[in-house]
Symmetry: C2
Amino acid sequence: MTATRKHISADVRREQLTAAALRVMKRDGIAAATTRAICTEAGMAQSTFHYCFRSKQELYTALLSTDINVTLDAGNWPSVDPTAGAADNVRLLLRAYWSAVESDATTHLVLSELVNLAQREPELSGLPAWQHQAYLDKATALTERFAAEAGLVLTIGTRQFAELVVAALNGVGSAWLSHRDNRTALETLDNFATLLAGLTEPLPAADA
Amino acid sequence: MTATRKHISADVRREQLTAAALRVMKRDGIAAATTRAICTEAGMAQSTFHYCFRSKQELYTALLSTDINVTLDAGNWPSVDPTAGAADNVRLLLRAYWSAVESDATTHLVLSELVNLAQREPELSGLPAWQHQAYLDKATALTERFAAEAGLVLTIGTRQFAELVVAALNGVGSAWLSHRDNRTALETLDNFATLLAGLTEPLPAADA
DNA sequence: CGTTAAGTTGGTCAAGTGACCAAGTCAAGC
DNA sequence: GCTTGACTTGGTCACTTGACCAACTTAACG
C-alpha cells in the first residue's frame, strides 16, 4: 500500500486545496467557501491554507486560471456526419456542449460566480477577459475543424462565427440556470443552430 | 421648504434603503453591501435596517422583485422605420438595448451578482426565473409591436423569437462585461440582427 | 394636553472571518 | 546520527458581520 506520508509538498497541497475549494463552491456556493470550510473539506488544519497561499485571492487566481477550464475540455465533441445537412451538424455540436452544461450545472454556476467576483477585484480583473478568450479560441478551433470536415465555408469570418456561438451558448446557458426548463433551452439552442447553419455554404467545387 | 421630518414611514425608509443598497452594490459590489454600509450610505443608524427589514434576505427580495427591473423600462425604444429593411430595423432595436447596457454596466453587473446569489439561496430561488420571465415578456411585447409596425410576420413563434433575442443580448452582454471590447460586441450584435431578420418575411398582401 | 403607537438610536452580542505565529514534527543530505 | 529546512498544527489576534434590545423621541389623535 502507498504509505500516507505525513508531509506533502506544498505544490500538491495547493492542488488538493483548489480541488477542495471547487467542491465546496459547487456544493454550497462561493460565499460559503471560507478558508476553514475549504481546509475541512481537504482534511487539513486551517493554518495550512496560509502556508500554501499568501492570501485567499491567490486561491481565486489559481482556480480561475487552471482548474475551471479543465472541465471544458472534458466534453468529447462528436464527429461530423458529411451526409447530413449543415443545420443538423451544427445542432449536433451545440447539443454536445449543452449536455455538458446540463449535466454539470453547478460547475457553470461556480464559474459564473467566480467571474463576477473577478470583475470586482482589480487584481483579478484580467482573468474574465482571459477566460472568455479561452472559450473563443476553443470555439474557433472547433468551428474550423467542423467546416473542414463537413466540406463547408463560412460566409463570415471564423472569429465572428465563433463569437456568435459563444454568445448563444452563454445566453442559453445563463437563461437555463434561471428557469431550468430543458425543453425551452433545447428549443432555443436548435433555433440558433438553424440560424448559424445559414452562415455556411457548400465548398465551391473548384476555382482559381 | 419641505421640512425634514425626523420620523419617516417605514415604507419610505425601505425604499431609501433599497436605493442606497443598489448604490453601494454598484460602487463596491454585492459583497461590500453590508447592512452597515447600506445604512451609512442612506444616512441612518444601522439599527434602522432591522426595523425596516426582518432580515437581509428580505432586502434582496425587495431588490430583485422591484428595483432592478425598473431600470430596464427606462430604455426608450426607437420607432420602426418602415422604409428600411428588416435587418436594419432589428439592428436598431438590439442597439437600443445595447446602449442601455453599455452606459450602465454596473447595474447589469449587480443584476448578474444578485441572480447568482438568488440561485443559491433556496428562499430566493424563484426570483431568477421570475426575472427571466419578465425579460421575456418585455421582449415578446416589443417583438410583436415591431413586427406589426414594420409590416412583417415571423417565421417562428413570437415567444421563440423573443427567447432568441434575450439569449443573444444576454450572451453578448456577459461577454462584454468580461472583455469590455465595444467593437467586438457591436459586431456580434449586428451579426445577430442579420440572423434574426432572416426569421421574418413581408406581410402577405391578402389571403383567406 | 396627554396618551399611545410608530419611529429612532447607541450599545452590545455571538458567531464568524482572514491572517499569522511560535512551537512542534518529519524527512532528507551530509 | 544529526543538522537543516521544509512542512504541520493549535492557538490566537483584530476585525467584521447580522441581529437585537431597551431606552429614547417624535407625531398623531381624541
